[in-house]
Amino acid sequence: MHNKSLSELSASLHQGDFTSAELTQHYLDRINKYNGELNAFITVADEHALKQAEAADLRLQQKTAGKLTGIPLAHKDIFCTQGLRTSSASKMLDNFISPYDATVVEKINAAGMVTLGKTNMDEFAMGSSNETSFYGPVKNPWDLERVPGGSSGGSAATMAARLAPIATGTDTGGSIRQPASLCNLTGLKPTYGRVSRYGMIAFASSLDQAGPLAASAEDAALLLNEMAGFDERDSTSVERDVPDYTATLSDSLQGLKIGLPKEFFDEGLDSDVAATIETAIKMYESLGATIREITLPNSALAVPTYYVVAPAECSSNLSRMDGVRFGHRCDEPKDLDDLYARSRGEGFGEEVKRRIMMGTYALSAGYYDAYYLKAQQCRRLISDDFKQAFKEVDVIMGPTAPTTAFKTGEKTDDPIAMYLADIYTISTNLAGLPGMSIPAGFVNGLPVGLQLIGNYFEEAKLLNIAHLYQQATNWHQQVPDAFQ
């Protein structure tokens, strides 16, 4: 059951080959069997899931079911789920039972999907290895000594081990695409504004976007159909029709113009990863695409710019965690200031504190122009590079990450080495463009992801480009031996 596509599962549920309750139980059994070694879930929602499965089975019987009704999924623990703990992998929210659903959760519930549980992540989505979680690190199913990437590492490990048919993630600087690359998955970060951020615990509000982590582009398209759309409760949600992302999956790639930014193939890229990416790109030539080198001259500014913009926004967003209305409160505060400082000092982990301090400093009197304003200007330069590139090409390709999965603990003492794990993904968030990572092969048994970057609102084209590659290759169908 756990190697079927969403379309196959949907057909089986509609034909009555098995019920949603049986399918849900199958996945819950797999989670119970494997979660101990992977630590992919923070909360397993057995009871809640079986109740939703029962309701889905009723809809299937009554012929009021949609395409995804009765199919289970896992949500990153950053999405508020009414009645279920929503921790964002922080001690600060360890006791937080959300009183409402995120829009993404509400839409997915309305489609009749079943929530298996909430997946582990880097604390408040700040990290690239899933090692900053209050609930401990997640293991990569391809090699348990290695990280699954982050911040959506729990969703990625869940999918790599096939503990759910599909999962949600969020991406602020690469947090869907980089774990997808390290775990052999198809991950999509939509255009900024395409998916509602309401009820998604905010990290950096001008960068955050939610998207699917899936076994294939077709599965990702099906879930994006449910996730995308205008939401008046998110002030940056875009009023624009949502196409059927599955309708154009098989469109021909004849004449597709692919741009390869030379800055994405520099000395920072592992040579075996580079060779794998080059082989994948050759495959596109055989599918009818033409390749040309392009330049994104301000690429080197992406990491410095991001580490001003993201911490600045996080320091503001996380000020709501103050020990007053919800979340962790310290014992016996002696005054209000002590309550704030100790609740936050105890509730946040090291990386979160580091980023709050970076942001606080960058926004403080006397430094605003040198850091925040300067970063916003650099952000414009980065965005303009993409605008220029998309005058010449239809899609940009390159590696998702500079290396395959690294070992747990390898980069934890060096924040900057960790930040560079997102060197190829960050610029997409700064520009607000859609990006994907798709499985492109292996180096020493570890997955390599090919990154696709599209123009604004061209998710359908990216999914089409990914789908045709997956029709011609079987990398995306590979599952680690221990989790077959």
Binding site: P99, Y192, G193, S206, L207, E232, S235, T236, V238, N298, A300, L301, V303, P304, Y307, V308, D322, V324, R325, F326, G327, R329, P333, D335, L336, D337, D338, L339, Y340, A341, R342, R344, G345, F348, K353, R354, I356, M357, M358, T360, Y361, A362, S364, Y371, L373, K374, A375, Q376, Q377, C378, R379, R380, L381, S383, P415, I416, Y419, A431, G432, Y456
Partner: protein, 95 residues
Amino acid sequence: MSLDKTDVEKIAHLARLAIDDDAIPYYARDLTNIFKLVEQMEQVDTSDILPMAHPLDAHQRLRSDVVKETDQRELFQSIAPKTDSGVYLVPQVIE
């Protein structure tokens, strides 16, 4: 730029973060290194560049001023650390 103990203490206070004294040298080291990385931005001249605050250059939407939300005070306060008679309790601020 290099941050010292006093800088870290000042930033931690502005951020309302209690941090251990033992950890201050590590924060000073890490923040200094990160700001060195950030200062690579200085290599480009941006004097004529319009700052970009938002990826889509969107403007704020307006909506009509009508009540849509219902009162859910009890639900929202059910997860609060300390409440009394519908208000959140914190240590006394005014003598």
